[in-house]
């Protein structure tokens, strides 16, 4: 394979992009996304290197790799661009492996903050309003609200990585994703408060108590928050709360109403 023939074409890149959907099939505690990364880039590497050179290159890609799954396409896009240049004999400042190792953790921080910490809870809480009111297509809203940024990140990230190589990092820097994550969280907390009120008022009315007492329910959330911060798991908290409610109900109906 001459050096000029070592070029990644659109079809191969499409294959890589689609394989990225299977990235975490072999997720494990040792190499984490490692094998998945190798699986995803293999079509590209096969295109760039003759069989006898492949083992050395693939070995680089099958080691420990761990970043946010939506950010991986961006990392690998840049890595493949660097790899292509390397295969063509162009001198590059940093190897694909070195680059990957450098960006993995910060990108994980960005992805975790933006997607898991910001967008997903926001989409969830907003869809929950609809779902609570019985709107059957609420889950669809949830799905679409998440799918759009997801697809955008994995699509655009991959594209920018391939197109701009190392400069894609600057692009992502400009998007100020960590700050946007924080803004999402603020909106989520506001919406969550409202949802709490909805739950409280509905619950009180079901118990034949006026909705005016809703702030009282808020007070009951406070000890739960305290306990959960001390490490009580959600499941345990539910069991405890249900137990408390059962005791309250049965003692009230037996003690208060039975004599009447």
């Amino acid at each position: 394979m001459s050096e000029t023939q070592r070029q990644l074409d659109r079809w191969t890149l499409m294959k890589v992009w689609i394989r990225l959907f299977f990235l975490q099939a072999s997720w494990n505690y040792e190499t984490m996304q490692g094998l998945g990364v190798a699986y995803a880039v293999l079509p590209g590497l096969r295109r760039l290197y003759p069989p006898q050179e492949l083992p050395g290159v693939v070995a680089d890609y099958s080691q420990y790799f761990n970043t946010h799954p939506y950010m991986t396409p961006s990392v690998l896009g840049t890595a493949l661009k660097l790899q292509q240049e390397m295969a063509q004999g162009v001198t590059i400042g940093i190897s694909p492996r070195q680059y990957s190792e450098m960006v993995m953790a910060p990108y994980a921080a960005i992805g975790d903050a933006l997607f898991w910490g910001g967008l997903r809870p926001l989409a969830a809480v907003l869809s929950l309003y609809l779902a609570f009111l019985g709107v059957l297509w609420a889950p669809l809203v949830f799905f679409v609200a998440q799918a759009i940024p997801h697809l955008w990140m994995i699509g655009m990230g991959f594209y920018f990585g391939l197109r701009h190589g190392l400069l894609s990092v600057e692009r992502i820097q400009q998007w100020k994703l960590s700050d946007k994550a924080l803004q999402c969280k603020q909106v989520t907390m506001f919406a969550l408060g409202g949802f709490g009120a909805l739950l409280a008022v509905t619950g009180l009315e079901k118990a034949n108590v006026s909705g005016i007492w809703a702030p009282g329910v808020l007070l009951s959330i406070a000890p739960m928050v305290y306990l959960m911060r001390r490490g009580v798991t959600p499941m345990l908290m539910v069991v405890v709360l249900v137990g408390a409610w059962a005791c309250l109900y049965w003692s009230l109906t037996n003690v208060v109403f039975k004599p009447l």
Binding site: Q24, Y29, W116, F142, F190, A197, M224
Partner: protein
């Protein structure tokens, strides 16, 4: 039945191994299962109850959260079975299933951990395969991970549904007697814990203030509207 199995598998895989389009989230998974089982509204209710509980939990690296996907699927299945086989009223079935799902669903954590350990063992072969240039085998090895995760999803689901159905059927009279009066408020307690859980994760005073503001706003709105 087949539809349910398909959901169990696809949602279970979406959770970690594949795609991650979030169909694994309780709100979506339970709602879809509700459709399949002919109880869309009930599915939605299961989804609403469970969605918040582990929302703030990051699927980050090493810590293992409970398998909320299978809990969601298991709960709606139990709820429907409770209604059909146990002749329980809808809300009672929902409430009881939520509790059963949450408790029995804890098994899912260990099963998920197992799948990852199986993957770790599998991955030990990678350096040799790479050196020998056996890339087709490498690709197949990677995809075998799907089997591990898929199997584990199935098992987690069964651990919830099989004993759960047994308990629902055998205990149906007791459940009807003791839990029915509690159910209408009881089903709301689960999402309430979810709300508390998210608030617990947040440590910023300004965001707590936002929470309070949102609460007061909607509360006022609801009172005015009624």
């Amino acid at each position: 039945m087949g539809g349910l199995a398909l959901l169990c598998l696809s949602c279970g895989l979406d959770r970690t191994a594949l795609l991650q389009f979030m169909i694994a989230r309780p709100l979506i998974a339970a709602s879809m299962a509700g459709w399949v089982l002919g109880q869309p509204l009930l599915g939605l209710q299961v989804g609403v109850s469970l969605e918040l509980l582990w929302l703030a939990h990051l699927p980050v690296g090493a810590s293992i959260p409970p398998d909320d996907t299978q809990i969601a699927l298991g709960t709606i299945t139990l709820a429907v079975l409770g209604m059909r086989i146990g002749a329980l009223p809808a809300e009672t079935a929902l409430f009881t299933s939520l509790l059963l799902g949450l408790i029995l669903g804890q098994a899912g954590r260990f099963l998920d951990h197992r799948a990852r350990q199986w993957n770790a063992r599998m991955v030990l072969r990678v350096p040799d395969l790479v050196e020998q240039g056996e890339f087709e085998q490498l690709e197949r090895l990677h995809l075998r991970g799907l089997l591990h995760f898929g199997l584990v999803s199935f098992l987690s689901f069964l651990v919830i549904v099989l004993p759960g159905t047994g308990l629902l059927y055998l205990g149906r009279d007791l459940i009807d007697k003791w839990l029915t009066p509690l159910s209408s408020v009881g089903v709301l307690l689960v999402p309430l814990v979810g709300v508390a859980g998210i608030w617990a994760q947040n440590r910023s005073h300004s965001r707590s203030a936002l929470f309070g503001t949102g609460f007061v706003l909607i509360w006022a709105l609801l009172l005015v509207w009624k």
